[in-house]
Each structure stands twice: as structure tokens, then as C-alpha cells.
């Protein structure tokens, strides 16, 4: 009904789930086939709406994990006691239908023409839109140098680990593990702070373009840190998520 209301206006549609792929113990990537998709940009998100039998609805936003031109996919982390994510991560199967609308957002997006070097900072599942940016960079043949600094609790919590480990075509990936580290871990440890940013981030003189996505406290710390390093605030794009309404 709504889809016919205003032609061209972004409205809800029912997409078929084409695959559900586990990424970690609590994270899955859901590939979708929406019938009316105009294409998306790297970094955008979409809204998912679940409707209960009694008509009650719950909406959540999830970053699009795939690059422009690839099938639409979202990566969802299960939040204990959550209203939507347990269904998406545990019950949803290929062939099911999911109501969504998108793509949404024009601020936290990157196009090859925007340049760089790219400084990407991810906290937990905040890596999802940054992965889309990295994939877009690779698929578009961009030679913009890129660095991803990814903060996760433990190594098994790292999403897209295999893909990020392989990603060496002019991009560098740094991990920092905040809660525990496996034996022999040579990467960074602890939460992102000024010392780590000084070590891992591009120098401000290189004119970097930064994208930070993660929980609010992570984003605040990382953004303040980059601005402290001399990054112009308008070159530091941020996206915060929380337990509700978040990714």
C-alpha cells in the first residue's frame, strides 16, 4: 500500500533473504534481494521492520555491508535481550522474507572521488560500513591509500577476519584487542587512545579523510583523538550506534 503512495519516494518493501552466513559466534551476514533497489553507496544503511502478529512493529537500522554493485547485505550482531537482533541472527533463514527500506544516509558515505588517504576506525560491529568502503575502494580500482584500525574485544569477535587479513592492496589493517589476546598476539592491545592513534593514523599533513563508526563512547574518543592530531573536524565523519536503533 505504502509503496504506491508516492512514486520515487523511499518506502518499505519486502526482500527475500538469499543467504545467512555466520561471521562470528554472535554475528551473521544476511544477503537480501529487494525487488525495488536503486543501488547504494558505500557507508549507507537500511532500516529493517519486524511486525508481530498483533501488529506491533520494531524498526532497526543496519549498515549495508556490501559494496555498491554487489548484492545487498547487512551484518547483524546479536544483542542479548535484544528485540530484533536475536530473531535476525538465530531464526532467519534463506528463503524467508524481511521488510526493509533503503538505502538511507548521505553523510557517512565514501566515493573514490572523495579521495583520502582513508583513515577508517571501527569499534566492534562498527566495522560493517567501513568494510563496504574498503570493498568499494578495491572494486573500483581506487589507488587511495587506506588504513583500518579495528577495535574488538577478542580475536574471535573480529568480523570479516579472513577478508581483512587478505586485504593488502594498498590498504593496511590494524587490530587492537581490548579484552583478551591470544597467546603470541603481536597486534595492539587495549582501547583506542591518543598513543595508539598517533602510531596508527595517517599524519594530518597527509590530508586524510576519516570515517569512525562504533559505539558512542568509542566514536567520541576516536574523533577527539583525530582532531587532537590535527585532523580538520569536517574531514572526520562519525556514525554512532547504540543498543536500540543502532546497527
Amino acid at each position: 500500500m505504502e509503496r504506491t503512495a508516492v512514486r520515487g519516494r523511499l518506502t518499505w518493501q519486502v526482500a527475500k533473504v538469499t543467504s545467512v552466513t555466520p561471521e562470528t559466534d554472535s554475528v551473521v551476514t544476511i544477503e537480501l534481494d529487494p525487488p525495488d533497489w536503486l543501488g547504494h553507496r558505500a557507508g549507507q544503511h537500511l532500516d529493517v521492520r519486524l511486525t508481530a502478529d498483533d501488529g506491533y512493529t520494531a524498526e532497526r537500522s543496519y549498515s549495508i555491508a556490501s559494496a555498491p554493485g554487489e548484492p545487498v547485505a547487512i551484518t547483524v550482531e546479536r544483542l542479548e535481550g535484544g528485540e530484533v537482533s536475536p530473531y535476525l541472527t538465530e531464526d532467519l533463514r534463506a528463503g524467508d522474507e524481511l521488510e526493509l527500506r533503503g538505502p538511507i544516509g548521505g553523510y557517512f558515505v565514501w566515493e573514490p572521488g572523495d579521495g583520502g588517504p582513508l583513515m577508517l576506525l571501527a569499534g566492534g560491529s562498527g566495522v560493517v560500513p567501513l568494510r563496504a568502503i574498503l570493498r568499494h575502494r578495491r572494486r573500483s580500482g581506487s589507488d587511495v591509500p587506506a588504513r583500518l584500525l579495528y577495535s574488538a574485544r577478542t580475536l574471535p569477535d573480529v568480523i570479516y577476519r579472513g577478508e581483512l587479513d587478505q586485504d593488502h592492496d594498498g590498504s593496511q589493517v590494524f587490530f587492537t584487542l581490548t579484552r583478551s589476546q591470544p597467546p603470541g598476539w603481536t597486534g595492539h592491545t587495549g582501547r583506542i587512545d591518543q598513543a595508539l592513534l598517533t602510531q596508527a593514523a595517517w599524519a594530518a599533513e597527509d590530508g586524510p579523510l576519516a570515517f569512525i563508526c562504533g559505539p558512542t563512547s568509542f566514536v567520541e574518543t576516536a574523533a577527539a583523538g583525530l582532531v587532537g592530531l590535527g585532523y580538520p573536524p569536517e574531514r572526520v565523519k562519525t556514525e554512532r550506534f547504540g543498543a536500540t536503533g543502532g546497527r
Binding site: 544503511h45 553523510y107 556514525e239 550506534f241 536503533g245
Partner: protein, 184 residues
């Protein structure tokens, strides 16, 4: 309670404004701070969605959803403008592929009655664009806003006098063909 940012309400803003608004530039009516909507502070756990200024904390926008309707309060904003139409362009391209009906003159007239010219009534300050049939209302076309209020008093009286004489001539049937109104 963790605050989110304006990215989180991109979908809600499409519901309200009908277009992508996270790149729109907002100006706080309290402190004058200006930034993209995506950078504003957003609380979604409140009974409604509350959007605050990241500089002074003032409430800029409130949205309350109930029974399929959205109540909107934008009184905390001094302005909200959307310079980046990237997403709209994206949709426009797709729409260009669809069969669409051309807007009719009837539709345009309807639009005009929605946004009447503030100077349309001759009892108010006379305006050279008072006749919407011949000349576009300054509200409908912001690019052409030679409006009394923005002109020097001398120019206003000149235009006013000219217009009054034109109206008088029209009313008296002494005006034959179309005449050019030189406002320079």
C-alpha cells in the same frame, strides 16, 4: 543512556521530509551553531525522538510517532537546508526510467495557492510581481526576488507608483496591449 547521532534517524527524516536529510545543514536557534543533521545528538529512548544541538544541548527537533502519524516540532531550529541532493539524484535517475506524467498547469496553480504571494493583496505593499498569472511569485522562484522589502525605499515608491498606475490603467480599460514594466 547513550546518545546516537543524526545518521540514526535518516529513515525517520525521510518519513517526515520525503527526502534524504542527514546531509542537510541545521542551524540552532539558540546558539547559532551550524552543522549537518548527521552530526546532531539524537536520543531515541525518550518517549519520542529528541534531537539536540551538539554545541549548546538545546532541543532542535522532536518527533513523536503514534498510530501511524508523526508529530513534529522543529521550533528549536533557526534553519534547515538541504544542499546535497545526491540521494534525490539517485532516485531521480531511477524515476527517469519510469513512465511519469508531466505536471499540468492545473497542478502548478494548485501549488501556487498553497504558497500564496505575500504581496498578492493590493491593500498591502504593492509589488511588481503581484499578478501570479503573468509574473511568478517571489516565493515560488527564490532566484527572482526583486521584492519591495529588499529594495531601497526610493525604488519601492517608484515601483509602487508604476504598479498603481498600471492597475489604474487596467481597471479603467485605458491599457491596450501588454506593456513592459521597467524596474531598473
Amino acid at each position: 543512556m547513550d546518545a546516537l547521532d543524526g545518521n540514526a534517524i535518516g529513515g525517520l527524516l525521510i518519513d517526515v521530509f520525503g527526502t534524504e536529510m542527514t546531509t542537510a545543514r541545521s542551524t540552532c536557534a539558540t546558539c547559532g551553531a551550524s552543522r549537518p543533521v548527521a552530526e546532531l545528538v539524537v536520543y531515541r529512548q525518550a518517549p519520542g525522538t529528541v534531537v539536540r544541538c551538539r554545541t549548546c544541548g538545546s532541543v532542535l527537533m522532536v518527533f513523536v510517532q503514534a498510530h501511524g502519524a508523526i508529530g513534529t516540532d522543529l521550533t528549536g531550529l533557526a534553519s534547515l537546508s538541504q544542499p546535497d541532493r545526491a540521494l534525490s539524484r539517485q532516485r531521480d535517475k531511477a524515476m527517469a526510467r519510469m513512465p511519469t506524467s508531466t505536471p499540468t498547469s492545473k497542478g502548478r496553480r494548485k501549488c501556487h495557492t498553497k504558497n500564496p504571494c505575500p504581496w498578492a493583496s493590493p491593500t498591502k505593499t504593492p509589488c511588481p510581481w503581484a499578478s501570479p498569472a503573468k509574473n511568478p511569485c517571489p516565493w515560488a522562484s527564490p532566484a527572482k526576488t526583486p521584492c519591495d522589502a529588499t529594495r531601497p525605499a526610493s525604488a519601492r515608491s517608484e515601483i509602487g507608483d508604476l504598479l498603481m498606475s498600471l492597475r489604474a490603467a487596467k481597471a479603467g480599460g485605458t491599457l491596450g496591449g501588454p506593456r513592459r514594466l521597467d524596474t531598473t
